[in-house]
């Protein structure tokens, strides 16, 4: 059976195409009687508007793009699920892309979706700093919201200004970090390892600075904060932890920069035969329903996934509809420290 088009509905209802279009879009110009007839006919024939035709005509696709770094990371998976759910509630579909933390793949997606008019706007978790496709999006004043990681926009001019004006949605770990540092200090830890996001990214530097501030705020010396950079993936967490352990005066506690790296840290510790928290304390990043089944249950800095998703969708719809952006606070919901059992008293050196 062929697809039923608007024309078929019009014919069956004995009215013109325009009337059907107007009626189905709820225009007040159509009489209640005609509208009812048309709605029933459309339902009976199983009419579903052709998305391509509508998009071509209206220049709006009613679909949003979402580019994340790694779907296998439960944080992104959960975020994507929430974003999708909220977007659908507003009448939008979402096209999900996984950049696999690769700038080139990210750029390919970005230009295909944006310049090719596949979507109305995109929500992007940038892999790193500025890239050609992000710059191009700025040049064409495309709709973009940055999620989870801010980027550094170098230079001046309209493009840079535009890019800098784009909303950035991400969690604020400051309070949670303060709580984490307080916990660690109270437990007697004086030397802390940090498995940080890439140091050549803004987020990497920010995160590192925030951790530094929290730790030094608790009287820990800057020289006693050992930072190893990872790349957001599990393997890098293992390697970073390995390096931290190589240190002659190794840390008695570690803070991981994201979920997969925390897993990597834990795996490396197990491989090295160290017990958590007896030999070393660990604080992870991102929460998950299974973290309390870990041995030991993992203390972690939980991101407010739901609020992040809500702010992201709100921000992108504001861009698309030209309405007001969420407040700066809404764009940056706070993380919280979930205390379980992976932190213990610092072992005597």
């Amino acid at each position: 059976m062929a697809r039923v088009r608007l024309k078929d509905v019009a014919q069956a209802a004995g009215v013109s195409d325009a009337t059907v279009s107007l009626a189905l879009s709820g225009s007040p110009r159509i009489s209640a009687k005609t509208r009812k007839l048309i709605e029933e006919t459309a339902l009976r024939l199983g009419y579903q508007p052709n998305a391509a035709a509508r998009a071509l005509r209206t220049e709006a696709t009613n679909t949003l793009g979402l580019i994340i770094g790694d779907v296998a990371n439960p944080f992104f998976a959960e975020l994507a699920g929430e974003v999708e759910r909220l977007a659908v509630r507003e009448g939008y579909s979402v096209m999900l892309c996984d950049s696999d933390e690769d700038s080139d793949r990210q750029d390919a997606y970005l230009s295909k979706m944006l310049a090719g008019s596949q979507v109305d706007a995109v929500m992007l978790v940038p892999t790193a700093a500025m890239t050609p496709a992000i710059r191009a999006a700025g040049q064409d004043a495309r709709r973009l919201v940055l999620v989870d990681r801010p980027i550094e926009v170098p230079g001046r001019g309209a493009t840079a200004d535009y890019l800098r004006s784009l909303p950035v949605v991400r969690s604020d770990p400051k309070d949670a970090l303060r709580d984490a540092a307080t916990l660690l200090a109270a437990l007697g830890h004086r030397r802390v390892g940090v498995v940080a996001p890439p140091v050549n990214t803004l987020i990497g530097r920010e995160r590192r600075d925030a951790i530094h501030a929290a730790l030094t705020g608790q009287g820990i010396a800057p020289t006693d904060i050992l930072v190893e950079a990872g790349d957001f993936r599990q393997g890098s967490g293992e390697r970073a932890m390995e390096k931290l352990l190589d240190n002659p005066d190794r840390p008695t506690a570690v803070i991981a920069g994201d979920g997969p790296m925390a897993i990597g840290v834990l795996k490396e510790l197990r491989r090295a035969g160290l017990r958590v928290p007896t030999d070393i304390s660990v604080i992870g990043f991102d929460d998950a329903p299974w973290l309390d089944l870990f041995d030991p249950p993992l203390t972690t800095i939980a991101q407010p996934v739901h609020q992040l998703a809500a702010a992201t969708v709100e921000a992108i719809l504001a861009l698309v509809r030209g309405t007001k952006l969420p407040s700066p606070q809404a764009l940056q919901p706070a993380c919280s420290l979930v205390v379980r059992s992976s932190c213990g008293t610092a072992p005597d050196q």
Copy 2:
């Protein structure tokens, strides 16, 4: 800056629209020289074809739909990631939807995507049995591949026949289940609990039958196999385990039907104060990088996610391109038992 259209490229290159279209699609009718000129011009202007216009004209969107039950389930998240990666390699985008295990939501997505020509075909993890939108897809001979869960197609006629002819991609747990039953029997377990998928679904019954067969094959009496149905979610795993524990003669081992339900089982056990595997042995379903960090590391039936994703993409592209479907074996790759430490000797009753 306005979007650059095909017309702009044509004008800049001094040729007609048709020539540009032909050249960029690699038609041999265009001379090498003209093609080169056009390609350079397109690149210089940053031309990206408008997806909607192309879709309207060609009736092909080059995007595929993927409807899963729950992105927060790491198995689906990983599967979605792999599917997307493979699809992109073949020139397709994927639109991801989360039915949240709700038939109505699933149906809304299905008809919007399929009837509305948003995608060329959809990969569907059905929430349950037949639904109106699936039937409609069968009536219109829409392209569909079923993933992870088969459905029962009742009745006769062209629609039913068509639906029954659609490819179904899912893993075969038989061998892994046999290994699991052997392991349990060798450990002295004679009474086994099963937290199964919904019993009113085909997959639920199949899974239960397969477990029965494996267990009885090891000499366990059918009356010693206690089945409690869940709904694929963590909460149902907790409730099912609770019921299993209520049994006066409770099982000494449990097999969970999917990842979230396995988490639920473990949580309920912990709440009940039972130690794994001393008091009770547990076998989960689906693998994840963090399962060996559990207390105790979880023995599980691992699905071949990569092969599943590959078969799914291959099958859907075969449908779209009209080429040959993967072989039945490829559509049903085998699961394997990953032995860790959650199974131990059966406690004396």
